[in-house]
Structure formats: C-alpha cells, structure tokens
C-alpha cells in the first residue's frame, strides 16, 4: 500500500514538473518556430491598426495612432460590414448547429441505413474549400446558370438567391460539419446509461431526445453555436465568391478590399482584423464562461455504445432528408463544377454541341499552366502536410503537458488564428520575408519553399487542434506509467502516443493536405516565381471568364484527392483491421481544445 502511494506521489510530482517544463523535446525551439510561423506575421499586420507607420517607405514610424480604428467605427461602409458579419454569423450559426445536431443524432442514435457512409460525407464537405463551394453556387444560381438552363428555376427566382437567404443557405451547407463534429464527440463520450434508464422507464425516442439527450448536450450545443459563429465571421472563401457576387460586404472581404490596391491600406486591414479577433475572442470567452467546456463524461467513465432507436417507418424519410442535405452541401455543387468543366460556354446550354473535354485535357497535359499547377501544388501540399503534422504533433504534445493556463492561451490563439482570413497571414509573410532586415536576406521570398512554409503556417493551427483533440482522449495513466518506468517523454511520444493516434494523425495529414492544395490567399501573395499554384489558376480562371478551365482544374484536383484518400483509407483499414478501434481514435471534434483535457484515471 505504501509502495503504491509512493509511486502515486512520484507520478504526481513528475506531472507537476512536466507542467512547468512541457515535454522537454527541444521545447524553446518549438515555441520559437511556432511564434515565427504564425504569431509574428499576424502581429505585424494587425499591429499596424495602432502603429500605421510601421512599414512606411521612408522608414519605420512607431507613432501610436487610433485613426484606423476610429475609421472602422465611423465609416458607414465598414460598420455595415461588421453588422452584416454579425447578422450572418448569428443566423448561420443557429442553422448550422440545428442541422449538425440533427445529423449527429440520426447517425449515432438511430439505425439509419448506411450510417458509416453518412458519417464520411461531413468530412468531405469540411475538406472542400469554401471558395470552391461558393463558386459552384454562383454557377448554379446565376440568372443564366445551370438551374435556370435546366428549367428548375425562373431567372427572377435565381436572381433572388443572391441575397441574405442564399448566402445563409450556402454558409449553412458549408459549415454544418463543424457543429456535427462537436455534438457527435459529446454524444460518443456521454455514455448510454441515462438513455437506457429513460428507455426502461418507458419513454419514447422523442421524449428521450428532448428530455435526456439534448439537456446533456447543452454545453456542446453552446460550443457549436459559438464556434460556428467564429467560423462564419472569419470565412474568406464564401465572402470572396458568392458574397462578393451579391455585394454583401463582410469583414473578411473588406479586409481583402483594403489590401487589394495601391497603396495598401494596412491600418484599415489591421483595424478590421482586430475587430474580427474581438468578435472571435468574445465568442470564445462566452464559450468558456457559459460552461460549454464542461465534460459530459461525468455520467460514466466508459464509452458504452448506445442501443440505437429503430426508425421503422421513418427510415425512408430520414434517408431522404440526408440525401437532400448532402445533395445541397456536396453533390449539387460538385455537379455544377463537373458540368462547367465539360462545357464550352456557361450560357451555351446543356446541348451536345456545347460539351467538350478540352478543359480537362489542358489539366492533364503537364506542359500547360494548369497541368504544372496541379503537379506542383500536389508537391507543395504534401510537403506542407508532412511538416505541419510532424511539427504540430511535437508542439501539441509539449503544450498538452503544460499547465491549464498555458494550454488555454495557446489553444485560444490557435482558434483565433484559424478564424482570421488567410490574407492577413499572407501579407504578414511578405512583410517578414521581404521587408524585415535579417529575414529579407534569406533567399526565400518568391521561392517554392516560402509557399510551403506559408501553407504550413496556415495549416498549423488546424493541425494543433486536431492533435490536441486526439491527445485529450489518452488517459493520463499511460503517461504516469511511462514516467514511473523512467521512459522519457520523447520515447513515450514515439512508442505510445504516435501508435495510438495513428488514425488521428492520418486524418490531420489528409485535411492539411487538402486545405493546402486549395489555400488561396497564401498562393496569391506568396506566388513562386517558378509558376502559379493551383488555387491561383482556379481563381484567375473564374475572374477572367475562363471558368471552364478553372472548374476542370478544381475537379481533377478533387478527384485525385479522393483517390489518394480512398487508397490511404483502404490501406489503413486493412492494417488496423478493427474499424471500431479506429473510430474511437478519430478526432471527435475539431474544437476540442486542450484546456478541456480530462484528468480521469481510466
């Protein structure tokens, strides 16, 4: 008994030591790299909100000025942008959370047929960049677009889509996977005791959901609402495509507008980015203070599977609803892109003479700009995913071992970074690597390397969140055991953590690679001299009337990603040989940051 108590005291002491020192794996270097990659470039842009002369051509002027912030507050145009963003964020967050929650309940609590397939689709929706979905909906809903050509809509009906309702529809279709991930993670961690008890007491499924499940899910619902709001506020892809097409000014687009001219209005961009940070930080603080970070695992320490409710006569209706959902979120936008990729003119109608494979041929020819863009972007995205996941694992592991306050601050910064539009980070990179003495002497600016580093920086916060959410579910008793056995943190990471998180790391790798492949702002502003990457060619095609080429390129890229992901999933599945275990290992929510790390002793 004494020996056991001693061992326990030693483990506790060692854990306290770790919280001060982290993993000890080159920790100062890790923190320095993370700072240089992400926070430093962001700070240089946002800092100009209050130090507008920081990058004056005549030399840096460190005078403080609040005129840019005042301008944001006083300009009717910019105030409208803030109000529109808040309005869209609030309504969009509610809609996305309702749909995401309903989806999670259907997949986890019912016997809906094809459950595993339905569970994969949200990941696909999540992985496709929002500007791609925005562009697809523009093709569909233009007065001369496909739905009008097919006779499904009158031109006036199509025209009316370009307003708040249409934007909300696209935003909701794009964003519901996020609340779905959050709610599903809570559902899976909730345990089935309460539901089983209610069932034994004779309550029906609807009563159980309303009176037992939803109350238990309240913290997750709050978190889903707030994080969805933050995601909408920070979205750039839809703001720069469909919202831009309908002249619905959002903060992120106004930031873009402030930076897309000469001279660039960096103070205005920085001030609006600051507003965005305040909005996002506000929602995070609200999430923290409203108790949405409480663990729902107080019910049980085990993950006993739910006994699923039989849908019976509702089976068809639920499946129809799921088909409608994924048709809107995935299949119809992709179909629009497919049609545009194989037709000559958008207004040429769906007649045989308008069909052609010329655009696809261009993409498949490695000598063309599109072919080169596809080839090199694959290389960039792969490299960025390798670096981001490797570094993300080391850094997330270090942070996860530190104090609650450190975890809170770092994960909060990561979340805020995720929601800031990529143009802020991209401009920060130009300022760092082309303007700052020391950095500008490095032969990086204009090179392929800097683009890879840029992609890595843009992906790193996502990677960290993924890895934290996976680390969060590893019992601390394993770490205690390693500590007692004298195993170093590095060895524990390599021999225990990595094998257990293999599925999560593969998922993080895949998502990082896809997001890097389609990352637009970094691609535009860190464009390598050697040639444009894929997102630049796609965006350029859409803005110069070559949308068939753009769609063909996007389509081929998506198909390649799908093929690689499918092959990887098949290989992983065979090796693991136990899909249930793999499901447990997968991240249960993007936003499951380490300040909520549970200290249960499994």
């Amino acid at each position: 008994m004494d020996a056991a108590a001693n061992r326990w005291r030693m483990a506790t002491f060692a854990r306290g030591y770790r919280e001060r020192r982290g993993s000890g794996i080159a920790a100062p270097l890790l923190w320095l790299i993370a700072f240089t990659l992400v926070l430093f470039p962001l700070a240089l842009v946002i800092g100009q909100a209050v130090v507008p002369g920081l990058f004056d051509l005549a030399g840096p002027d460190f005078t403080l000025s609040f005129s840019a912030i005042r301008e944001v507050v006083l300009s009717p145009h910019l105030v409208t942008g803030v109000m529109d963003t808040v309005l869209l964020g609030v309504i969009g967050a509610v809609l996305a959370t309702v749909i995401g929650t309903a989806l999670a309940l259907m997949i986890d609590l019912t016997d809906v047929k094809g459950g595993r397939v339905w569970a994969v689709f949200p990941w696909v929706v999540f992985a496709i960049p929002s500007y791609f979905k925005g562009l697809a909906w523009v093709l569909l809903m233009l007065p001369g677009g496909y739905l009008v050509q097919l006779g499904l809509l009158a031109p006036d009906q199509a025209r009316s889509f370009f307003g708040l309702p249409g934007l909300l529809l696209v935003m909701t279709f794009s964003l519901f996977p996020l609340p779905y991930f959050i709610v599903r993670a809570r559902l899976q961690g909730m345990g089935s005791e309460m539901v089983d008890a209610a069932r034994l007491a004779g309550h029906g499924p609807i009563q159980i959901v309303l009176r037992v499940v939803l109350p238990l899910l309240l913290p997750a619902l709050g978190l889903a609402l707030l994080t969805s709001f933050a995601e909408i506020a920070g979205d750039f892809g839809i703001a720069t495509t469909i919202a831009r097409e309908m002249n619905f000014g959002l903060i992120t687009y106004n930031i873009y507008a402030a930076t897309a001219s000469y001279p660039v209005d960096f103070p205005a961009a920085g001030a609006q980015a600051l507003v965005l940070v305040v909005l996002v930080a506000g929602s995070m603080v609200a999430a923290g203070s409203s108790g949405t970070d409480k663990s729902t695992r107080f019910v049980t320490g085990r993950n006993r599977e739910f006994t699923r409710f039989a849908l019976r006569r509702w089976q068809s209706a639920v499946r129809a609803a799921l088909i409608v959902l994924f048709a809107g979120a995935l299949f119809i936008p992709i179909a629009a892109v497919v049609f545009r990729a194989v037709t000559i003119r958008l207004g040429g109608g769906l007649v045989a003479s308008n069909f052609s494979l010329i655009a696809i041929d261009k993409v498949l020819d490695p000598a063309t700009t599109s072919g080169q863009a596809l080839l090199w972007s694959g290389v960039y995205a792969f490299a960025a995913a390798v670096i981001a996941v490797s570094f993300g694992l080391l850094f997330a592991y270090d942070v996860a071992l530190r104090s609650r306050l450190t975890r809170l601050v770092v994960s909060g910064l990561a979340l805020m970074t995720v929601t800031l539009p990529g143009i802020i980070l991209a401009f920060g990179f130009i300022l760092v690597y082309d303007r700052l003495p020391g950095f500008r002497d490095l032969p990086l600016y204009g090179s392929r390397w800097l683009l890879v580093i840029g992609y890595t920086s843009a992906a790193l916060p996502y990677c960290l969140i993924f890895v934290w959410s996976a680390l969060d579910r590893l019992s601390t008793s394993m770490r205690d055991a390693s500590l007692l056995a004298g195993i170093s943190p590095a060895l524990h990471l390599a021999r225990v953590v990595v094998p257990l998180l293999r599925g999560s790391l593969a998922m993080a790798f895949g998502v990082t690679m896809v997001r890097s492949l389609f990352e637009l702002p970094m691609s535009q502003f860190l464009l390598p001299l050697a040639g444009p990457p894929l997102p630049v060619v796609i965006a350029d095609g859409f803005t110069t009337g070559r949308d068939a080429d753009a769609c063909a390129l996007a389509l081929v890229a998506l198909l390649l990603v799908g093929a690689v992901s499918g092959a990887a999933a098949a290989i992983t599945g065979r090796r693991a040989g136990q899909s249930a275990a793999r499901r447990r290992d997968q991240p249960r929510g993007l936003l499951n940051p380490p300040w909520r790390a549970r200290r249960h002793r499994g």
Partner: protein, 333 residues
C-alpha cells in the same frame, strides 16, 4: 524499405524545389494583363532570356507590390492605369529610363501617353466606354453621353475602383472632365442600384449585362469588344463628351539587377513582333488598341483613339485614397 522511402521522398522534394529555384537570375515580370503571357513567350523565343511571369489581378498584384514596398522583387511591372505608375515613380519604386522608347514607332496617341518622367511607358491602350444590352435598350434610346445614363438609372453596372485599376482611371477621368462636384452628383444620379454599382470584377459586370440585370454598364472597351466577338447582344458606345485613355504601362524597378533584360523586354513589347504576339491573347485583354503604327486591333474595334482624353496622373494619384473611399461609401454595399 520504409526508411528508404522516408529518406527518398524528402530528398526528391528538396531536389524539385531546388530545381524550381534555379531560375533565380531570370527576368521577373509582374503583370495584371493577359497579354503579358504571349508577349513573354515571344520574347523568350526571340532572345533566349527566361522570364518569370507573376500574373495576378490588378488589385492583388498592386497589393503585393505595396507590401514589398521599397524592396520590390519585380524587374518589370506592367499594369493598366497611369495614375498608379505615377505614384510608384514618385515613391521611388520605378526608375526613369530616358530615351528607352525613342526608337519606338508610336501612334500619335502612344506618343502623348509617354510621361515626362519616362519612368513608365505605354504598351497598349484601351478606354472605359458604355456597354449596352441591345435586347434591353432600343436603338432610339441608346445613350450618347455619360449624362444619358441617367435615363437608365438603377440598371447601370460599374466596377468598384477600389478593386480595379481601370475603374479608378475612369473615375478620376470623370472628375477631371466634369469637375469633382459635378462628377459626384452625376454618378449619384446614375448609380442608384447598389447591387450593380460597385461590382468586384469585369467578369461580374459582364454577367449582369448579359443576363439583363443591367441594361448598360460602364465597362472597359476591350471587354465590350470581347462580348461582341462572342456574339452577345451588346453594343459599344463612346460618349461624345469624351473618354479617358487607359494605357497599360510598363516600368522598371529602381533596384533591378536585370536592367538590360528589362529594357529589352519593354522594347520588344513595343515592336511590331511584340504587339502582334499580344494580339494573339485569348480573351478581353487581346482587344486592346495598339500604340504602335501599322498594327490593327482585334475584332470590331474602331480606331477612334485620336479623340481620347488624357488623365492628369498627378491629380489622380494625389486624390486616389479620398476618391476611392468616397466611391466605396456611396456605391459599394
């Protein structure tokens, strides 16, 4: 085997990246014009000088140039609009190259567009005119002047000058020819529909025009000729009260290390060979008005450049932020 793959992949990748960086000594051209691509290819074919072309939309390209500040990475900058080039010259980003185009056989318009600073040079020219959807506007109601657009108020599309160099050139031109106060009043009377008045790109303007959402549009004439060439029911109107020349200008960076190649490139684009290469461009930019004598523009372009007016670049550059802000507050939702 796994270790071999693990070693081989990064090595191959690094080799690829290094190979990509091998062209570090190439001429770097930043351009927002589609005509730059065939021009670059023809130049390389003729001289053997490799060119790295950074092609982005005007707004994004200028944003990049602005962020690079006094450490520009381009050797040649080639964009539409003279006001921004004037500003870049005054800020010491562009270098004066006196006599660079002395031997160029410019048209009368081309000669007039060469600034006294000789820090940037006209390569091609277009203007902003009125595009009319002939299915929506009967021939008898065709506008003849800018003021006639008041009759179509609420149905007139225009680009946001905050995102378009050509649109700013047009805005500054309107203020120059009408006077700022009268120009502002005129625009307020014409651009009353915010869903059409501050569009983000020429492509958006074209879509609204073709779909009939807009009966008329204030649009670059190259884009209008492109639509006409595609068989769309569009007519071009050059207002009788004058249009402002919109030259595409090329200038050389003050810190270039490839000055000779940069000069050779600009001179090539102003040769018959260079201009003809540019005319092979697929799309709107290929319908420019040539600035070199003996070259005819593409499509149905009429040569009326003798009547085009010239922008006072200094005034336009000095008021750029203020006028763009005004337009944004008035017409961009």
């Amino acid at each position: 085997m796994k270790r071999l793959i693990a070693l081989a992949l990064p090595t191959l990748f690094a080799a690829g990246l290094v190979a990509g960086a091998a062209n570090a000594a190439s001429l770097v051209v930043y351009s927002s014009l589609d005509t730059s691509d065939p021009a670059v290819k023809a130049f390389t074919a003729k001289t053997g000088i490799h060119v790295d072309l950074v092609a982005l939309s005007t707004g994004e390209l200028l944003g990049k140039v602005a962020a690079e500040g006094n450490h520009p990475k381009f050797d040649v900058l080639w964009v539409e609009g003279s006001a921004v080039m004037d500003r870049l010259t005054k800020e010491g980003i562009l270098k004066a190259e006196p006599g660079l185009t002395d031997k160029v056989d410019y048209t009368p318009l081309g000669k007039k567009l060469v600034p006294t600073s000789q820090a940037y040079f006209p390569i091609s020219v277009s203007t902003t005119a009125i595009a009319v959807n002939t299915k929506k506007v009967p021939a008898a109601d065709m506008p003849k002047t800018w003021a006639d657009l008041e009759k179509l108020t609420g149905s007139v599309a225009a680009k946001d000058p905050n995102l378009s160099g050509p649109a700013y050139q047009w805005l500054a031109g309107i203020f120059q020819s009408m006077g700022v106060d009268k120009g502002k009043a005129e625009l307020k009377a014409i651009l009353t529909n915010k869903s059409l008045s501050g569009m983000p790109s020429g492509e958006s303007v074209n879509r609204s025009l073709i779909s009939g959402d807009a009966k008329a549009a204030i649009q670059q004439d190259t884009s209008i000729y492109d639509l006409i060439n595609q068989g769309e029911p569009i007519a071009v109107v050059y207002p009788t009260d004058g249009v402002m020349a919109l030259p595409s200008m090329a200038g050389i960076s003050k810190v270039t290390t490839n000055e000779d190649a940069a000069k050779a490139f600009i001179q090539f684009t102003l040769s018959t060979e260079g201009q003809k290469a540019m005319l092979t461009t697929d799309g709107g930019d290929g319908f420019f008005a040539p600035v070199v004598t003996g070259i005819m523009g593409n499509g149905k372009r009429v040569d009326n450049t003798a009547s085009w007016q010239f922008l006072d670049d200094s005034v336009a550059a000095a008021h750029e932020k203020e006028w763009k802000q005004w337009f944004r507050d008035q017409f961009v939702p």
